[in-house]
């Protein structure tokens, strides 16, 4: 499998607010030195708690925001600062599915125009032919053809997310970034959308970057998983290895926190102490040391590097 996307030492700082009520202070360290690659055809899961930088990373990759430093390569080309026609071409190949389909579909546009618009924007076909294309794609995601004349408010949340997926799929992109695509749905609808995403992946040989805070869903859908904490990568491993044997203490704690759907299981639970530190004031050394149950002096003094061992990456001085 070839490499589809590679990010190298991506860092993103947001400047501190200097408004009337906000004292000017330290910038927010949203992403710190992130490097990884996505292989063609794989589903890479990105997991972590709120504020760990998952969505910022997704937006940087989709070129919706610019990184402070670092590089992004798509099919070997550096796309970190491309613009104009080249950026438009990248947009065609990297598409986004957002969390909330109530916000991501324009309420003033019919479903037909929303889904056919990409064809027109990229000059692939005229409005009439584009509408036919839209009907075909809607059919693929399980929405009937009559939908093209209707508006988003006439659909349920689950159906709207199908429409958002159809729109992302319209130009057969190579990479789809799905940022919490099922977080706002009920369990039974979540399962429908997960199955749909799996089906579409096989049909179109898609590559997914799938972001979720739900570890069960990440395991189900992903080939490999990245675990993030406070803007840093803690661990990268195949989903099978990660769930069977976490190497990073944060991954271990995260996995142990998942409620088990089996009342008999007496799982050992690691209850992390304290709270996630503020991103404006990162802890010294390993960012996880304030909550780690195995913390030693070295963790406080020295920042652990992301190291490779047996096809796995982890950033910890004392791996499990």
């Amino acid at each position: 499998m070839g490499e589809l996307l590679k990010v190298q030492n991506i860092t993103k700082y947001f400047p501190a607010k200097t408004g009337f009520f906000e004292s000017s202070g330290a910038p927010i360290h949203a992403l710190n030195d992130i490097s990884f690659a996505i292989a063609q055809g794989e589903t890479l899961g990105l997991v972590g708690e709120s504020g760990c930088g998952k969505s910022t990373l997704a937006k940087v990759i989709a070129r919706l925001i610019l990184p402070t430093s670092g590089k992004i390569f798509f099919e070997g080309d550096d796309i970190t600062s491309v613009n104009g026609a080249r950026l438009k071409k990248i947009r065609r190949n990297i598409q986004f599915v957002f969390q909330d389909p109530h916000a991501s579909l324009n309420p003033h546009m019919t479903i037909g125009s929303t889904v056919s618009e990409p064809f027109v924007i990229h000059g692939l076909s005229g409005a009439k032919k584009a509408l036919l294309e839209a009907e075909n794609i809607l059919d693929l995601v399980g929405i009937s053809k009559e939908a093209v004349k209707r508006y988003p408010h006439e659909f349920s949340t689950g159906q709207r997310q199908r429409i958002a997926i159809a729109r992302a799929l319209a130009l057969t992109p190579k990479l789809i970034i799905a940022d919490e695509p099922i977080a706002s749905l009920d369990v039974s609808i979540q399962a429908q959308i997960l199955n749909l995403l799996k089906e579409l992946k096989e049909k179109f040989n898609l590559t997914y970057l799938f972001i979720s805070h739900d570890l069960r869903i990440i395991e189900y859908i992903s080939d490999r998983v990245i675990v993030m904490y406070l803007g840093k990568i803690m661990e990268i491993a195949s989903s099978r290895d990660l769930y069977k044997h976490p190497i990073h203490p944060y991954t271990e704690a995260l996995l142990s926190a998942i409620p088990v759907i089996n009342p008999q299981s007496k799982k050992k639970r690691i209850i992390l102490k304290g709270e996630i530190p503020a991103t404006t004031k990162l802890p010294s050394g390993c960012v996880f040391h304030t909550r780690c149950i195995y913390v030693k002096q070295r963790c406080i003094d020295e920042i652990p590097k992301l190291t490779k061992h047996d096809n796995r990456f982890f950033a910890c001085h004392f791996p499990l």
């Binding site: 709120s50 369990v187 399962a191 992390l272």
Partner: protein, 324 residues
Amino acid sequence: MNNCLLEVKNLHTSFFTDAGEVKAVRGISFSLEQGKTLGLVGESGCGKTVTALSIMQLLPNQAKITPGGSILYKGKELLRLSQEELRKIRGREISMVFQEPMTALNPVFTIGEQIREAIELHGNLNKKEATNEVIKLLKDVGIPEPNKRIKDYPHQLSGGMRQRVLIAMALASFPSLLIADEPTTALDVTVQAQILELIGALQGLKKIAIILITHDLGVVAERVDFVAVMYAGVIVEYASTQNLFNEPLHPYTKALLGSIPKLEDKDAKLNTLKGSVPVLTELPAGCIFYERCKEKSARCKDITPELVEVKEGHWAACCLYEKG
């Protein structure tokens, strides 16, 4: 049942809207013993929260509890109490913790003042004693440096800390029943684990009964003694947690369990439910789950199944188990 704390019988609650009568809760019955935990599970719109609000009688104006039902608390009929009498029960005897801790707390008062208010309303402590009580409560719910924290405003606390404050407030008056409506839904997993652990520990300590409302079956499996599965305003299955997960009876419960990715077997396709929940203004005749059911037969279209005891303590409302 002798030590029955709460008994709900045939509760109907409807919202009267411009679009017609929305029957949010349609005849549910259950009971809860002292010190036990009941989980109310189901998808959005199935009537979980309306059930809780009906017990507390905190329903919005356009909602009405249909006469004929009954909510017995310690043998007292809550539906016949005056506002004055209800106020003595609400907060003091029955407390509630809401999902979104930011909207449940008042942003312009310190958390200390808000918890003290709950203590002063229901007790007869002076200000100093009440403040000490607040500090003790905050310590109980695991807030570090409580004597400093009482001067904080809600926005200075994280989501997990705010939820701890709400729990402290709910416990301020030593209630016998705590209704927790999706208390961990807005929280991250590691914080969710902290809060669930806390609720469990406090329950052991103070012997309170809990109604835990959630859509997360994992939380149910870990924290509750009995489960009521709700669908479109009715209870479709009721059992002990063990029985429900070992041997789900109702097709809806089976589908719900099937639609969660299991941690071990990832290649399996998820068992999905087709379609979506029926609209509550235009309920179909017969079984409400008919449209989406995998085990339906012709008679399901005509018969509205009642909750029957299929095995000891295990109830289901489905034609598969109807007698005769």
